[in-house]
Amino acid sequence: MIEASLKDLAAALRAGTLSSVELATLFLDRIDALNPSLNAFITVDRDGALSAARAADARLAAGTAGPLTGIPLAHKDVFCTEGVRTTCASRMLENFVSPYDAHVVSQLKAAGAVMLGKTNMDEYAMGSSNENSHFGPAKNPWDASRVPGGSSGGSAVAVAARLAPMATGTDTGGSVRQPAALTGVTGIKPTYGVVSRYGMIAYASSLDQGGAFGRSAEDCALLLSAMAGFDPRDSTSVERDTEDYTRELGKPLAGLRIGLPKEFFAEGMDDDVRAATEAALEQYRQLGATTVEVSLPNAKLAIPAYYVIAPAEASSNLSRFDGVRYGHRAPEYVDLADMYSKSRAQGFGAEVKRRILVGTYVLSHGYYDAYYLQAQKLRRLIAEDFIAAFTHCDVIAGPTSPTVAWPIGEKSDDPVQMYLQDIYTIAVNLAGLPGLSLPCGTGAGDLPVGLQLIGNYFDEARLLNVAHGFQQATDWHRRMPAVG
């Protein structure tokens, strides 16, 4: 049952061969057994899950169930959940219980999905390895001495280790796609503005976007269909009709034009990642797709531009954590300024502080034009490169991550080395395009390799079908790590 697709789970629930309570119990018991070693969940809500499952069973019996009714789900701990604590993996919010639900959370509640708990992540979604968590790192289920990627590491681990059939994440610079690649699952970040940011704790508002993890592109399409949609409470939510992201699944890939950015294939990726990527592209050619070289000449500037824009926006967003209205307050202080400084020094971890300091500096008097404005200009050049490339192709493909999962601790004391891990994903966020990672092979140590597919604006349905077509012809997405 832990191997079943969302479609098969929904069919079993409708047929009555399985109840939602039984299904939730199965996964909750798996979490109890495996989470102590994997650390994928920060909070498990057994009572809430069972009560939601009973309500789902009633809906199933009444014949009012939707495609996700009764199916268990894990939320990244960046999404506010009323009544269940939301920590953002920070000491600052260790005891924070939100008075309201994020839009994504209410959408999935309305769909009848059953939340099992909240998943581990890099603190405030700042990181690429899940090591920046106040609750300790999540572990890669393929090799527990290695990182699962980040920042949505816990959600990726939950799906990879079959602790949940589906999970939400957020992606500001690669935080859905990269952990999906490193743990061997499928993950999609839609076009900026498709998923509401209401109740999603902000990191870099012009880049943050909610996304979906699943065992397959089909599962991601079902989950994304329930998450997405216009929400007036998010000023950057796009006013578009709701979409069925499964609508293109099954269309043949013959004639598909896949763009290969020459900069992504030049240097920087490990040989094992290159071999798996090339083999996946050969598979696409066998499915009738053609490949064409394209160029993203400014993509190399994405990391420096991102590390100005994201910290600048973070320094502004995180100014709300002042120890007054919510969050950690230092136990001792001499005056108000001291209370702010001590509360923030104690509440935030080292990487969060560094990004706030970088952001504070680049926005400070006299430096704005040299840094923030320059980064925004590069952002336009990067976006224009993609727009030009899409005149020659339907989707762009390349590696998701330059390496397979690395040992815990290997890069954690060198922020710049960690930042360079997101070389292939960050430009997509700067442009605001949809991106997806799917398992496409294995590298050194039999560790998963992800293939990244990048689509044009609002082309999620096609992107998901391009991944689905590959998964119909291969079984990389069905491999499961040997845990429990």
């Binding site: 503005g193 007036p232 500037l301 400084s341 020094a345 560094r354 404005l373 710049v416 930042y419 605001g432």
Partner: protein
Amino acid sequence: MSLSIDEVRHIARLARIELGEGEAQDTLDKLNNIFGLIEQMQAVDTSQVEPMSHPQDVAQRLRDDIVTESDRRDAYQRVAPQVEAGLYLVPKVIE
């Protein structure tokens, strides 16, 4: 570009983050590495490029000027470190 330890202390003050004596040097080293990466931006001439602040060039939506929120003060204050009589308490700021 290279920051000095005094500049790091100044930024930390602006950001309202207390920096312990032992932390300042390590923070300085790491920030200088990060700025070394960021400096790559300066190699590009962008004098003819319009800045892009947002992925979708759309105008902000306007809404009617009407009350849409209900009063949930108690729920919001339940998560506050210190409240009294519906007020958030902070250290004395006026002598």
